[in-house]
């Protein structure tokens, strides 16, 4: 049954941020690796809008009603635009069902959403890895910070993260390139909140290269990252990990192949390969390998497992616990504040810095910062700039004077939003409707996830504390913002195949192996046991490199 050009040492499903890392690590350790990507092929340089100015774009990059008709769900979140629509899947072709509103930005292509990502990179700490154990929500992480710390070091050095060291135990420092600098109004806020509230503000830790790495970068401060970067100024699979994997000669990359399911073998109690569908021709095929890495993105990896049904696993591969598809998380955001400042009118800046500032979590760190009204915490991301002509789109004034006003910089302002943790709720789920299939024969995904009291109580603090900080720093016209939190909107989907210590209550073990099928590793966001409040991609990268190291060692020792 096994034919040679269909047999590899390893298969990686997905080529996004974690799949790229799995490919690089497996190939560099000498394994013949097949990377399957369901979307089209995209190579570095395939960035049609990267050099376009607003006046080069139809309607300055706004989608027309005809285009919006293809994105009825995704246009609810402010992400897809004329500048990036070629990297975002259409709802009309990749639809899903919602029991509660779920904003899902899907980007299937070689490179996945690593082409589009926000690039903020913050390590998780033992405050996060012990959180479930401490307060009893979810299950205990099977790892601690010491297990992952060397792998953060390892992936950060290759990825290229710029940032400032703060020495905080709950937001560990990393292997940083030189940081971007704060604008003067942001330094002003930093000094005021340190002085009056003992809170920190630092420049965003971001995967934009302030120093070149092996021909990548440095970043040119254009702030057009989400269109793809001709200068390779930021980290993505197609600029960094996939080229590294290809350079070994060990990688075979197949675009346009989606994985239908994992093939489980009862005799060996292992996975032996995957069943695939060519998304263009709809032809099916099978590929085989000794080890399989699932990196199809949180919801797609879990969907593949749920769809991998056998006599042994009637409810999906590795789903002995019944937890597969449960505990879906994201971060909740868009609760914060903004204000104007009258100072620094003679100061300006040059260039478009590709990151904002970050205010690390300051709640529920210890007894003295403990809140009675909610568990866990949040950090802030924000930006301080001077207003520009855009203010004139909604303000009174006409004539020469109005025009002159708009060609001068306006007041400085700062806006910030919290990014808060969502607890792992068992009833926040993805399920499949096997009775209805899409055009590729895949069951329809059903999303059902919402924020609850803990998140709503936290949001109140998120906006009030933001306003408080602007207040102590002397800002005027302070307004608080809040909006109904929608799971998925932060594009940080996590959980649904959680790691844990006990096969009865979790799907993956401490090395991201499916408890009952040890040669299947899941190292994208699906593995997350809790979400912290940190942007999660760097954690997926570190867990992936660590899992590959484990898998390759196990293969050598014949223990897989």
């Amino acid at each position: 049954m096994i034919n040679n050009d269909h047999t590899f040492d390893a298969i990686v499903v997905g080529s996004g941020i974690s799949g790229g890392w799995a490919a690089k690590e497996l190939c560099e350790k000498g394994l013949k690796t097949l990377v399957l990507e369901r979307g089209r092929d995209v190579k570095h340089g395939d960035y049609p809008t990267a050099m376009k100015d607003p006046w080069d774009m139809p309607n300055q990059g706004k989608l027309t009603q005809d285009e919006i008709a293809h994105y009825p769900k995704q246009t609810r979140a402010p992400f897809v635009s004329g500048y990036n629509k070629h990297f975002v899947l259409k709802d009309t072709e990749h639809n899903y069902e919602e029991k509660t509103r779920f904003d899902w930005t899907q980007g299937n292509q070689v490179g996945g959403r690593s082409i589009l990502w926000g690039r903020q990179c913050y390590r998780m700490s033992d405050l996060d890895f012990t959180a479930n154990k401490q307060d009893g929500h979810g299950v205990d992480w099977p790892i601690r910070y010491a297990d992952i710390a060397p792998w953060y070091d390892y992936v950060e050095r290759f990825t290229g993260i710029s940032g400032e060291k703060l020495g905080l135990s709950y937001l560990p420092d990393g292997q940083f390139q030189k940081p971007w600098e704060l604008r003067c109004i942001e330094s002003h806020l930093r000094d005021a909140i340190k002085d009056k509230l003992n809170r920190y503000l630092t420049i965003g830790r971001v995967a934009n290269l302030t120093e070149a790495i092996e021909g990548r970068g440095p970043c040119q401060a254009r702030n057009r990252c989400k269109r793809g970067c001709p200068f390779m100024g930021y980290f993505s699979s197609i600029t960094a990990t996939l080229p590294a994997a290809a350079a070994t000669g060990n990688m075979t990359l197949l675009a346009n192949y989606l994985v239908d399911s994992i093939i489980y073998d009862d005799k060996t109690e292992k996975a032996i390969g995957v069943k695939v569908v060519n998304q263009l021709t709809l032809e099916t095929d099978e590929y085989y390998a000794k080890v399989i890495f699932l990196n199809a993105s949180t919801l797609n990896s879990t969907a593949i497992m749920l769809n991998s049904r056998s006599e042994r696993f009637p409810n999906g591969l590795g789903n002995d616990s019944g937890q597969l598809g449960r505990n879906l998380m994201d971060h909740h955001f868009r609760a914060g504040a903004r204000g104007d400042h009258e100072g620094y009118r003679d100061q300006y800046y040059k260039g478009r810095r590709p990151t904002g500032f970050y205010i690390p979590r300051f709640r529920n760190l210890n007894a003295s910062t403990q809140r009675k009204d909610y568990l866990r915490g949040f950090g802030y991301q924000g930006i301080g700039k001077r207003a520009n002509w855009n203010a004139g789109t909604g303000a009174p004034g006409i004539g020469a004077h109005f025009k002159d006003q708009l060609t001068e910089p306006g007041d400085w302002y700062i806006g910030m939003t919290g990014f808060g943790e969502i607890l792992p709720y068992e009833n926040n789920t993805i399920t499949l409707d096997h009775t209805r299939k899409d055009k590729w024969g895949q069951p329809i995904k059903i999303m059902d996830a919402k924020c609850r009291d803990n998140e709503f109580n936290m949001r109140k603090d998120m906006k009030e504390s933001a306003a408080e900080m602007l207040e102590v720093a002397g800002f005027k016209n302070i307004t608080m913002q809040d909006s109904h939190p929608v799971v998925g909107a932060a594009i940080h989907e996590m959980g649904t195949a959680r790691m844990g210590r006990d096969p009865k209550t979790s799907v993956l073990n401490a090395y991201n192996q499916v408890h009952a099928v040890k040669n299947v590793y899941v190292t994208d966001g699906a593995c997350m046991t809790s979400g912290g409040c940190q942007n999660p991609s760097i954690t997926y990268m570190a867990l992936t490199a660590r899992a590959v190291d484990h898998a390759v060692t196990a293969l050598k020792n014949n223990t897989l």
Binding site: R334, G351, N388, T393, M416, Q481, S483
Partner: protein, 192 residues
């Protein structure tokens, strides 16, 4: 109500605005484009009279000084395409109903068509409409709704036109680096 709050509120109401650096859209919900239920009103082409009226209004908002006027840089072409293609059916309806209402109001007040008035008279009318359109204590009439849309698109179309973006403002497509703080040198940055 302060100017900027008003801008934010308006942005939410209209469902479109300009997105700046990456974090601000998160805060302001920038770029949300709600697709409303389709109305009976299909894409309405602008007739010559409407186009001329918009030309006059745009050049009153942004007249020729040492720098070009609104119409000299293609602002109206941008506005008309945007209304036809990007606006929801409801927004489009508001726009055209409001435009008609504006012309009727002028006709009633002056017994003449807006286009037949002197520039001075036209400017006075637009100035009054501008004040009432951005005064929060006043109820919003169809003419106000039209004007808010028209002004927003005029400013967008003007400052993000090639001429203004590349030659009037400080056009810096590849900065090469970031200077976090420097004395203001008299030229505002073109790109956000």
């Amino acid at each position: 109500m302060k100017r900027r709050d008003f801008i934010i509120q308006n942005a939410k109401r209209f469902g479109y605005t300009v997105c700046g650096a990456s974090v601000m859209p998160l805060i302001h919900g920038c770029g949300t484009q709600k697709s409303s239920s389709p109305s009976q009103l299909n894409s309405t082409p602008f007739n010559t009279h409407e186009e001329q009226t918009l030309n006059v209004i745009a050049d009153i908002i942004l007249p020729k000084t040492e720098t070009p006027s609104a119409t000299e840089v293609g602002t109206i072409e941008f506005l008309m395409t945007f209304v036809e293609q990007v606006f929801t059916p409801n927004q489009r309806q508001d726009f055209f109903t409001g435009l008609t209402s504006f012309r009727d109001n002028v006709q009633m007040q002056t017994k003449r068509d807006f286009l037949d008035l002197t520039l001075n008279e036209q400017t006075q009318i637009i100035n009054t409409l501008d004040i009432s359109s951005f005064d929060h204590n006043q109820s919003t009439t169809p003419a106000n709704m039209f004007y808010q849309h028209a002004k927003r698109l005029t400013v967008l179309g003007y400052y993000q036109s090639e001429t203004i973006g590349e030659t009037v403002l400080n056009y810096d497509p590849i900065p090469g680096g970031f200077i976090h703080c420097m004395p203001y040198d008299g030229k505002v940055m073109s790109l956000n």
